[in-house]
């Protein structure tokens, strides 16, 4: 009887392993574990054994049964997995074939830079203010302390419209509009389009983009400005990029300055891009001239402020090494596609 049992288990093992599909497994299970199975028959025959051997043999039958069950379970899982994988259409993919993408587009590099600037200043607690492109003399010149005979008012510099209005030559106009409508404290940047009567060439464009910053509050000093600038430069161009200001002249700031960042190409050692100075000019800056405040009815004894302006084209060209400003307005897809990875 014992041999019979051993033979039975051996037979079951080979039958189970031979199963190719779930149906086979079901049949083998019925054959070996069903009501009329040989195993059950052995149970019935326990009585034939001497009573002292019965418990041990009973145990052996049970163990065999458990073993067969476990084998069936394992084979069933294996067979089901195989059945799913080899079903019609279930062929494995060549993993080296390219993935299917959704064909995203991308942003213009000037937008990418503008958004980056926006985010830097928003995180520093600035607001974004915008104003009209079509402006008047007051907001573009008078309120900015520009004398009536200043050369920048010439037709050769500023675009005028037939109705006498003009296209703003700087986004400082927005500063004036904000200070007209809101009392200090003010903390804004104003990004937008500006217009100057320059023929398109590698470093000029009649239409270009600027970001101006304006901070007016009690106790604002030039030190706040240099701090803001250096933070901006390091976030925009990298932690190791330094900044400095140099004395300059603008009608609407006093003291005025030009600001430079250390050359992003050579790191300050001197190269062709920075004309071997180690510094790149970024824009104009300074403390808001008391005359500007006076025009707007802000008490310059109580409030002080700083302002600076940055050219977005210039930042983009420096950051991406674009040699000619005109490329930015051609909208060539071969240029635009390059910035897909920068779009955010």
């Amino acid at each position: 009887m014992r041999e019979q049992l051993n033979e039975l288990v051996r037979q079951a093992e080979s039958d189970i392993l031979a199963c190719q599909n779930p149906n086979d497994v079901m049949n083998v299970k019925a054959q070996y574990l069903g009501k009329k199975s040989l195993l059950n028959g052995l149970f019935a025959r326990l009585r034939e054994l001497p009573p002292e051997e019965r418990p041990a043999f009973g145990n052996q039958i049970n163990e065999s049964r458990n073993r067969i069950e476990a084998l069936l379970e394992a084979q069933s899982t294996k067979v089901k997995e195989a059945a799913w994988n080899t079903r019609e259409g279930g062929k494995a993919t060549d993993m080296s074939m390219p993935g299917i993408t959704s064909s995203r587009g991308g942003f213009h590099p000037l937008t990418i830079i503008r958004r980056e600037i926006d985010d830097v200043f928003l995180s520093m607690g600035f607001e974004i203010a915008e104003g009209p492109d079509i402006e008047d003399d007051f907001h573009n010149f008078d309120a900015l302390n520009t004398p009536a005979d200043h050369p920048s008012r010439n037709l050769a510099d500023t675009f005028y419209l037939e109705d006498g209005s003009l296209l703003r030559s700087q986004t400082s106009t927005v500063q004036i509009r904000v200070m007209e409508s809101y009392p200090p404290p003010i903390r804004i940047i104003s990004p937008g389009r500006c217009y100057r009567n320059d023929k398109p060439d590698p470093s000029h464009s009649p239409v270009f983009h600027q970001v101006e910053a304006l901070v007016v509050d009690k106790g604002i000093s030039l030190a706040d400005m240099t701090d803001t600038l250096s933070q901006f430069a390091s976030i925009m161009f990298g932690a190791n990029v330094g900044s400095r200001i140099r004395p300059h002249f603008f009608p609407f700031t006093e003291p005025s300055a030009e600001m430079d960042i250390s050359c992003v190409v050579c790191g300050g050692a001197g190269c062709r891009v920075c004309k071997h100075s180690g510094w790149l000019e970024m824009g104009g800056a300074g403390m808001v001239d008391p005359n500007v405040f006076k025009t707007l009815g802000i008490d310059s004894e109580i409030y002080t402020g700083f302002a600076f302006g940055l050219g977005i084209e210039r930042i983009a060209m420096l950051k991406y090494n674009i040699p000619d400003m005109r490329i930015l307005f051609e909208n060539d897809l071969r240029m635009l596609r390059q910035f897909k990875g920068e779009s955010r």
Binding site: I100, S102, G105, I128, I134, L161, P185, I186
Partner: protein, 851 residues
């Protein structure tokens, strides 16, 4: 902490309105958590004597009482001039003074009527505190002191009406844990006088030797001060009514006059006291036979039977007040049973002490005993405060228990806490709070709080140990703004105060600033305009969202000049009269092709397209977000547009899927999804009516009659005029346009509202039918939804077929109809019925063939 406003009013004039007071306290930083009004009672509730109380033999608790109501007029008095009242209270007995509510009285919760209880008439009711609304106590009827006259109104006896405030005192303010503390804060807040109780203690009646006591303080760190006074001939009785009612309204139960007095002083001064039975204090094991009080750490495993009737095993860390042999009180937490005051007590020791807050907290936490006493001590009470508390209790004990005071005053006080001296600068106040408070106002407020003004001086940070170090100047000159000191702005602009030791929370200048801001009122703090009001955040975010989305759908962004060639608008087919043709001209353009401000972005996009087609691109999707420029009725406007141009494949070619040319459905899908994303709902579709679009395939989206966008196929003629030969290109050109300003405004105040998730499953059924081509799908969808809009949640087309089996001019459409009932599960029967209704409706409306 519960406080009765009638009691509080004894120390300070309160505002007439309870709401006003509630607001005052709240803005002084004392939160009023609950307000309970105890209404006035009618005159028919008054004191009366129970002459007799016979137990009702048929009941286990009812008494039939004869009650003397004096000359109160009542028709149903018995022959002997009394009234009969049935009373069920366990404490009802003959001879007691009670409060009766006569028939007709309206009590807070019910109305008294003449009644028959078990066949016996009852004329009125003898009342409990709860029935009168005074407290929650319903254990028995009110027992008034025996000497109360008959006929006194309950209103007088209980000072009604009254209001009880439940106050939340923040843990930093232990000084507010008593009526006087609250009153002091209010007096500073309201700038009115505080009325402190006048304490006058009688002359001592006997020398120390007649009631000797041994006092040993073994732990002056945990017990920095211990005072004791002794009394004899103490009469332990009930407290007078005024004392009882004070405790009751503050939520305490009267016990006897002595315990009540200590509780009263606890509530009044916020300082807990304890009284021991002198005769129960054992002497020290060695030495004299005088009763002893020993302040010491407990011995490990030392037992104590506390006043709550429970026995505690101490572990040795607790500070206890012991006699010569055993612990008789857990210091600052709870007294012990053995030395407790009982009715037979005649000689007492009155303890008024200061305990270390941490030690009290530990003991209280370890043994899970929280008492009014531990609550206060663990918040840190001043050692100086013990004096007044002891004196006040002494006065009351002599007065109310007819006790004799001993000459001896025991006071173990090794190191009295030294009051801090702090400076405060008005200029600093302005710097921190935002407005100026002058020196006089500061002085006024802080002196009302109990701080003692010392002098003006120059600024020295921190607590001042020697005031002579402070450079001093006379205060008057400060007010006039001394010029001689102007070069030293800090100089003499400081006020110096001595801080009462009860104000453990005042340690630095900033604490004083907080006090002043709180008292002057946070409503005085000016609203400084902070940046944050200039930016149109919604517009900014919406524009970023739109362009992000358009880029995600495959478009590349272009940027073009704001000025353009005036001919291009005519090429688009606009007429002279169209606003798009009223372009603003430059006075000094660089060239004719840059001589006007653009009124549309589309011409430049077409030029960008041509540029790229010429360079071999075939699949081009470009957009620009930018301003256009108009002058209407003399005013400039610069509407923000987003225009896009599409041609070529729906998406980049790939090795797996068949690439298809993009078409109307692609563009429509882009717009539908964008509007879903932005929350632009209820779009209506209509023909776009643009001269440059193909007449058939175009659509305009409007919301509330405002156009938000349109799309359409570019007409071949217009394409030709821009130099694109569509026949040669073999691709359609598609234009998509968004009116960004309108979208920004429409979505500005949008609100998303969650709708509950349906509890019952939705069921979807499919219907297929043949229908003539001239019936638009939107009409079909509307028709189906019209059948039962409350149950049909969604109608969605999933197949369109035109082919051999379908007659010409027809198409086969298959739609999903999703049914959802929010009230119950939809049965098959009901759905079948609804589907039949839909089919009937469709067949009735059009010539259709169900499949």
């Amino acid at each position: 902490m519960k406080i009765s406003l009638n009691w509080l009013a004894k120390y300070i004039d309160l505002p007439d309105s309870v709401t006003e007071l509630e607001k005052l306290l709240t803005f002084a930083g004392i939160e009023v958590e609950g307000v309970k009004h105890i209404p006035a009672l009618q005159e028919s509730v008054f004191s009366a004597r129970i002459v007799s109380a016979e137990a009702d033999p048929k009941s286990d608790h009812l008494h039939c009482c004869k009650v003397d109501i004096g000359d109160y007029p009542y028709n149903d008095k018995t022959e002997d001039g009394l009234v009969q009242v049935i009373c069920g209270a366990p404490n009802c007995h003959a001879g007691m003074m009670a409060l009766i509510a006569m028939p007709g009285t309206v009590l807070p919760e019910f109305t008294i009527a003449k009644a028959k209880i078990r066949g016996v008439e009852s004329h009125g009711m003898l009342c409990s505190e709860k029935e009168l609304g005074i407290s929650d106590n319903h254990a028995g009827i009110i027992e008034l002191p025996e000497d109360t006259a008959i006929g006194l109104m309950a209103n007088e006896l209980y000072e009604l009406p009254d209001t009880i405030f439940e106050l939340e005192i923040t843990p930093n303010r232990p000084d507010l844990l008593g009526y006087i503390g609250i009153a002091r804060d209010l007096s500073a807040k309201l700038n009115i006088a505080l009325r402190l109780p006048v304490i006058q203690i009688p002359e001592p009646k006997f020398p120390a030797g007649e009631l000797p006591l041994t006092l040993v303080n073994e732990d002056t760190e945990l017990c920095p001060r211990y005072t004791a006074r002794l009394f004899r001939n103490v009469h332990i009785t009930q407290s007078p009514l005024w004392l009882k009612r004070a405790l009751i309204k503050s939520g305490l139960r009267p016990i006897n006059n002595l315990v009540d007095i200590t509780n009263f002083v606890l509530l009044e001064y916020g300082h807990p006291l304890h009284a021991f039975d002198y005769d129960k204090l054992a002497p020290l094991p060695s030495g004299d036979t005088h009763p002893a009080i020993v302040i010491r750490k407990a011995i490990a495993k030392e037992p104590i039977m506390a006043l709550d009737g429970k026995s505690y095993n101490l572990d040795g860390d607790e500070l206890v007040i012991a006699d010569g042999e055993k612990a008789s009180a857990l210091a600052g937490v709870m007294g012990g049973n053995l030395s407790a005051i009982s009715d037979s007590t005649t000689r007492i020791v009155l303890e008024s002490a200061a305990f270390h807050p941490g030690s009290v907290r530990k003991t209280s936490y370890k043994h899970k005993i929280s008492t009014d006493s531990s609550y206060r001590f663990e918040r840190h009470l001043s050692d100086h405060a013990t004096t007044n508390a002891s004196l006040r209790a002494t006065q009351l004990i002599c007065e109310l228990a007819q006790a004799e005071l001993c000459e001896a005053v025991y006071d173990d006080w090794q190191k009295p806490t030294v009051a801090l001296v702090l400076g405060i600068r008005p200029a600093r106040y302005e710097q921190v709070i935002g407005y100026y408070l002058d020196g006089d106002t500061i002085k006024d407020y802080l002196e009302k709080l109990g701080l003692r003004f010392i002098q003006y001086g120059n600024w020295k940070p921190g607590a001042i140990s020697d005031i002579s170090e402070v450079y001093c100047h006379h205060g008057e000159e400060i007010k006039q703004g001394l010029t001689e000191f102007s070069e030293q702005p800090d100089c003499i602009h400081t006020l110096y105060f001595e801080i009462p030791t009860s104000r453990v929370d005042l340690e630095r200048e900033i604490d004083l600033i907080e006090e002043l801001a709180r008292l002057d009122g946070y409503d005085k703090v000016p609203v400084k305009t902070l940046p944050g009001r200039i930016m149109d955040r919604h517009a900014y975010k919406t524009m970023r969202q739109i362009t992000d989305y358009i880029v995600s759908r495959g478009c590349f962004e272009t940027l073009n000049y704001s000025f353009t060639d005036p001919d291009t608008m005519a090429k688009l087919g606009f007429q002279e009269s169209d606003p798009e043709m009223q372009m603003i001209r430059l006075r000094n353009p660089q060239s004719g092709t840059m001589s006007v401000m653009r009124t549309s972005l589309i011409p430049q996009l077409l030029q960008n397209l041509v540029y790229n087609l010429n360079r071999g691109e075939r699949n081009v999707k470009l957009f620009e977000l930018g301003k256009t420029y108009f002058k209407i009725a003399g005013k400039h406007s610069e509407p923000m547009h987003l225009s896009a141009i599409f041609t070529g494949l729906n998406r980049e070619e790939n090795w797996q899927d068949k690439s298809i040319q993009l078409g109307a459905t692609t563009l429509k899908g882009i717009l539908d999804e964008l509007f879903l994303l932005l929350g632009v709902h209820n779009c209506a579709c209509a023909p776009a009516n643009r001269p440059f679009l193909n007449k058939q395939e175009n659509a305009s989206y409007t919301v509330y009659k405002q156009e938000v966008g349109y799309f359409g196929k570019l007409s071949a003629t217009v394409a030709e005029s821009f130099g694109i030969d569509l026949i040669e290109l073999k691709q359609d050109l598609w234009i998509l346009h968004l009116d960004v300003d309108n979208i920004v405004e429409i979505t500005r105040n949008r609100k998303m509202k969650f709708s509950p998730i349906p509890r019952y499953p939705a069921v979807t059924r499919d219907i297929s039918f043949l229908i003539a081509d001239n019936v638009g799908y939107s009409e079909i969808e509307a028709c189906v939804k019209g059948v039962d809009c409350s149950l049909i949640e969604e109608v969605k087309v999933f197949d369109e077929y035109r082919g051999k089996q379908i007659p010409a001019g027809h198409r086969s459409l298959s739609i999903h109809v999703k049914f959802q009932d929010t009230e119950k599960t939809l049965t098959d029967e009901r759905i079948d019925h609804l589907v039949d209704l839909v089919k009937t409706k469709l067949t009735e409306t059009w010539q259709i063939n169900l499949r």
